[in-house]
Symmetry: C2
């Protein structure tokens, strides 16, 4: 019958975890101080010992969501098998894999995606690691290294790829896709369109 200890032990991390669960289920609006405190089994005011503000807690949950996205992209890239004697082909496949992983994360976890890029966050700024932006740039560097992407296009490429993939994700999450389009077709079309814009040679047999 050990009574619950007065001190939680790791409230900061526990609140973050609870926040991630809540955000996954209900989006940024579900990040409520009292609910998170209750979920962890602690009084509301205890939160203020670990976060100066509810906004800071939300921002950290948002950051965690962004890290989850980046992790998903990384494992998708790692799952692409190396192509024998054709590193360029491998680089292209990895590029497509991370793009698809980004969009599929958004579609499968729309609330987390919303949380990752929510408006009321403290400037995501793309520069924090591990970030989706970093993963994208690594993939682009690989394309340049293997001669699949012209160096002159390198700078623009990142922006176009990011805008298109992130933009389509937002469209799918908000269910803004106009009637005739099917999500899966839209994804492949956009990914192909991006590679096209970068003047990357595309293998034919990809779907």
């Amino acid at each position: 019958m050990a009574s619950p200890p007065y001190h939680h032990g790791n409230l900061h991390a526990a609140l973050l975890a609870a926040g991630l669960v809540a955000a996954q289920a209900g989006g940024p609006a579900a990040l409520q101080l009292r609910e998170l405190a209750a979920a962890v089994g602690v009084s509301p005011s205890a939160v203020y010992r670990h976060f100066p503000d509810m906004a800071h807690l939300s921002a950290e949950v948002s950051r965690a969501a962004r890290e989850a996205l980046a992790t998903r992209m990384l494992s998708a890239a790692a799952a692409v098998p190396a192509v024998r004697d054709d590193p360029g082909e491998g680089a292209i496949r990895r590029m497509q894999a991370i793009g698809r992983a980004y969009i599929e994360f958004a579609v499968s976890e729309p609330h987390l995606f919303d949380t990752a890029f929510m408006a009321a966050g403290a400037a995501p700024s793309c520069a924090d690691d591990p970030s989706a932006w970093g993963v994208l740039n690594d993939a682009l560097d690989a394309l340049v290294r293997t001669g699949m992407l012209a160096f002159a296009r390198r700078e623009t490429a990142a922006l176009v790829a990011w805008s298109a993939v992130h933009g389509l994700s937002g469209v799918l999450v908000r269910r803004m896709l106009p009637a005739p389009y099917q999500p899966n077709d839209a994804i492949t079309a956009t990914l192909a369109g991006v590679l096209d814009a970068l003047d990357v040679r595309q293998p034919q047999e990809m779907r």
Copy 2:
């Protein structure tokens, strides 16, 4: 000394207008029932005679913001002078003009842009008129009609263009643009990238 009349006369429209002003200044979070009611000079509960819910009011303000965006695009397209004996050239310039107008609206009115596509809205659905989606498709039809865009690409084109332009707008609004990039360069690069992806012939002298 006419005392203020008991009945406002046009509360619905007045609340919408006040909502648009508030959203322009402070984004979706600034859409607060009591503030809007006070701004119009009416008690909070009066709002419920015209909107079933605060969410419905917000949704209508969001819709108005989307209409403002579409209007901005239309007037940008109308401002493009016709090119003598080269309707295709004109179509391309109009295409670029609406894209640039979209992004510049987002940059110059970030809060309105956020409001237009806010998460907690009742499914924007892209299909309402006049919508940015409609304007884009008209421009694409003109490109096909003048032979500047292959019909086979028409379907994909809309999606890629929308995703990239909307995505970049979001990036700029959230100030997610990584350090080395300049907003203006990013805009031109993205617009050029989109036209590239559509295999549209691009005039050289455009900046």
